[in-house]
Structures are given as structure tokens and as C-alpha cells.
């Protein structure tokens, strides 16, 4: 048990890296997708729709295997397992994030937009100073669920040779054959990481809720 833990914890660091990397990719891709969808131009709307439907309609594991085994045959170079995993898991999460973001932006009353236009705010000011601050409190709770899903999905990266908790636990299982201990510990580490992530998101939720009632 004691010699299993350090190896798994080393895996946990990699799991954290993959998850954080994927969250960064997802933030960028979902923001772009939502901007394209809300642009009102069908030339921009359609690619974003296809991106969202394709990534939400297929399984993350298939996307990952596709990027790892099939894509290098098409690309002129071979991405490292880490890059491929972060890119795929990030784009996958981004497709779900885009729907959350879009729903929250559309949930802000139309009058807010009209009032901002009447007050002659520029489109960027309208979005960043009027709409988004009101949409943020709606975004955080579903976003917390999404991030935890992304943490859990990062376990798939171990199947394409990223040395995360999954990968390390498979190696440990083969070398020690202490199945219950290895996978039991792996489950507990994931659970702990999810609890930490949930705690951080609850903190963020409080931070973003505060300015709405207090000072704008």
C-alpha cells in the first residue's frame, strides 16, 4: 500500500495537468464557438454548430483514439500523447461549455441589451460590462459539473500513454497484482481531486455572485 501511493500521486500530478490544460483549451474553444454562434452570420454559425454537434455526439474515447491513431496518418507530424489528450479533452469539454455559455447569455433579459444599446455602449462594452457579469452567476454551477466531468474524462488519457493516475494504476496492477488496493486508491484520489475542484468552484460562485447585489 505504501509503495503504491507515491506512484499514484505522481500520476495525480499529470492528471491535474491534463485537466487544467483541457480546461484552458475548453475555455478558448467554447468562447470562440459561442461568439460565432451569436454573431448572426450563418457562415460563422454553421461551423460552430458542426463543432458542437460532432464533439457532443460522439464519445470522448473515440475522439481520443481517433486523434491518437488516425489523425497522425493525415497530419504531417505526430502530436505527443499529452498534447493530443489536452487538445481532444479540451475541445470535447468546450463543446459542452459552449452550450452552457450560450444558454446563460441568452438567459439575460433582452431589455438589458436594449438599454445598453440605447445608452450608446459599444458592442464589446455591452458584452463584457453588461451581459457577461449577469450571465456569470448562471454559468458557474453547470461549469463546476463540466469541470468535474473533464477531470473524470482525463482518466481516458491514460489509455493513450499519458502517465496519469489511470496509466500508473494499470502498470501497478500488472506488477503488484494487488487489484483492490491499486484501483481502490485510484478511485479515492480521483474523489479527493473532484472534491477540491468542487470547493474551488463554490468559492468562485460566491465571488461572482457578490458584485451583482452589492455594487455594479
Amino acid at each position: 500500500m505504501l509503495h503504491i501511493l507515491p506512484t499514484l500521486l505522481r500520476g495525480a500530478v499529470v492528471t491535474g495537468e491534463v485537466t487544467l490544460g483541457a480546461i484552458v483549451v475548453a475555455s478558448v474553444s467554447s468562447s470562440c464557438a459561442v461568439a460565432m454562434r451569436l454573431s448572426g452570420l450563418s457562415a460563422l454559425d454553421w461551423p460552430a454548430r458542426v463543432y458542437i454537434e460532432v464533439f457532443r455526439g460522439t464519445s470522448a474515447l473515440i475522439q481520443l483514439f481517433w486523434a491518437f491513431y488516425a489523425l497522425p496518418l493525415v497530419l504531417p507530424f505526430r502530436p505527443t500523447p499529452m498534447t493530443a489528450a489536452i487538445a481532444v479533452l479540451g475541445l470535447n469539454g468546450g463543446a459542452y461549455g459552449a452550450e452552457i455559455l450560450r444558454g446563460a447569455i441568452l438567459a439575460v433579459p433582452k431589455g438589458q441589451q436594449d438599454a445598453a444599446i440605447a445608452l450608446n455602449f459599444s458592442p464589446a462594452t455591452r458584452m463584457f460590462r453588461i451581459i457577461l457579469p449577469q450571465a456569470l452567476p448562471l454559468i458557474i454551477p453547470p461549469l463546476a459539473n463540466l469541470f468535474i466531468d473533464m477531470l473524470k474524462n482525463s482518466a481516458l488519457a491514460g489509455l493513450v500513454q499519458v502517465t496519469d493516475i489511470t496509466f500508473q494504476s494499470q502498470i501497478l496492477q500488472e506488477s503488484t497484482l494487488r487489484n483492490a488496493e491499486v484501483y481502490g486508491l485510484a478511485l479515492i484520489i480521483y474523489f479527493a481531486m473532484a472534491l477540491i475542484l468542487a470547493g474551488v468552484m463554490r468559492f468562485l460562485e460566491r465571488c461572482f455572485k457578490f458584485p451583482l447585489g452589492a455594487r455594479v
Binding site: F65, L73, I148, T166, N179, Y183
Partner: protein
């Protein structure tokens, strides 16, 4: 590297046999999830604090840990304690238990939407608690939760490729075996991806129709 249509037609029947197993796992897994979720939700409504927190902890643990590791855990540990069942059965069981944590949440939301007055009225009419639950509460709680259950079904469908890691011969596993043998990964993996996309688009379309039908009926 170009796209090879001959190969696609050659491997299609093999992949489609995997589709059958994928659908089988989804349907049976969902049935288990629906049943077990209802049990969790029922336990959460009992007045016992200990049971409440225990069930909450179990649900939280299931929801916060990766399905993949849960599969590995059961696949490797069950034989150690003397339970030898086929990998597909292990897979369906783990899928069912995993999603029961989500269906429990949906049931709970559905049940909480029923006004307390319904319980009181049933009590006044001398129904037993069990009769009240089955004859009065469930028929009212069920229709609004159908779409949420449908979404769970699609999510589970998209999680079935994970069963390939415990040797279940579903679509992805077959595609990978074809790839390993022929070194053509592009066609089989793309084929599986497209099949998944088509089936989940079809399923979400059906759920949309059901949702509209239910809304009309109310």
C-alpha cells in the same frame, strides 16, 4: 494516406455486429440505472438521517470518480472475491450503477416537484404510503423527467466505448482490432465515430419529439 472505400465496405459488417453489443449494453445498463436510481431516491426520502447521508456519500462517490476506473476496479476485483461473470455483464452492471447516481438525482427532482398536498390528500383518503407512492406520486412525477432520463440514456450510450477496455467486443474494440491487424486506423475509427454521431443525433431527435408530445398532453 488516402481514404479507402473498399476497406470501409469490407469492415462495415464487423463494426455493425459491435453496434448490436453497444445497443445491448446501453439498454440493459439503462434499465438497471432506472431501477437502482429509484431505489436510491426512495432511500433519500426515508426519515433516517444515517441512511440519508450514507446514500448521499455513495452517490457523490460514484459521480465524482471516473467510470473507467470503476470498470477496472470491478473487472479485476470481482474475480478475486469469487465472482466470475462475463466482461459484458460486469460492464453493464458498472454502467448501470454509475448512471443510477444520475437517475437518482432526476427522480429526486421529479418527486420533489409534487406538492406535499398530494401526500396529505392520499393520507386523508386512507391510502398506505406505498400505495400513495406508486399510484399517486409516481404517475405525476414521471412525465416531466422523461427528457432528463433520455439525456442520461444518450450519455450512457456515449460511455459504452469504455467497455472496450475490459475486453467487451463493442464497436470501438472491433475498430481497434481491425486497426491493429491492418494498420489502417483512419477508416475503422472514423466509421465508428460517424455511427455514434448518427445514432446520438437520432436519439436526441426522438427525445425532442417525446418532450413535445408530453408538453402537449399537459
Amino acid at each position: 494516406m488516402t481514404w479507402n472505400w473498399t476497406l470501409v465496405w469490407h469492415i462495415l459488417p464487423m463494426i455493425l455486429r459491435g453496434t448490436v453489443i453497444t445497443v445491448e449494453a446501453t439498454v440493459l445498463g439503462m434499465l438497471l440505472a432506472l431501477l437502482l436510481g429509484l431505489i436510491w431516491a426512495g432511500l433519500l426520502f426515508l426519515p433516517n438521517r444515517f441512511i440519508f447521508w450514507l446514500v448521499r456519500l455513495i452517490i457523490e462517490f460514484i459521480r465524482d470518480t471516473p467510470l473507467l476506473i470503476q470498470l477496472f476496479f470491478c473487472y479485476y476485483v470481482l474475480p478475486e472475491i469469487g465472482v466470475t461473470i462475463p466482461a459484458l455483464v460486469t460492464g453493464i452492471t458498472v454502467l448501470g450503477i454509475n448512471y443510477s447516481a444520475y437517475t437518482a438525482e432526476v427522480y429526486r427532482a421529479g418527486l420533489q416537484n409534487i406538492p406535499v398536498g398530494q401526500w396529505n390528500a392520499a393520507k386523508a383518503l386512507n391510502f398506505t404510503p406505498w400505495q400513495t407512492f406508486i399510484r399517486i406520486i409516481v404517475p405525476q412525477a414521471l412525465p416531466p423527467i422523461v427528457p432528463a432520463m433520455g439525456n442520461n440514456l444518450i450519455a450512457m450510450f456515449k460511455d459504452t466505448p469504455l467497455l472496450s477496455t475490459i475486453t467487451v467486443m463493442e464497436m470501438l474494440n472491433r475498430a481497434m482490432i481491425i486497426g491493429d491487424k491492418s494498420f489502417h486506423y483512419l477508416e475503422p475509427l472514423t466509421l465508428v465515430g460517424v455511427l455514434f454521431l448518427l445514432m446520438s443525433l437520432l436519439a436526441s431527435g426522438l427525445i425532442g419529439i417525446t418532450q413535445r408530445k408530453l408538453l402537449v398532453r399537459r
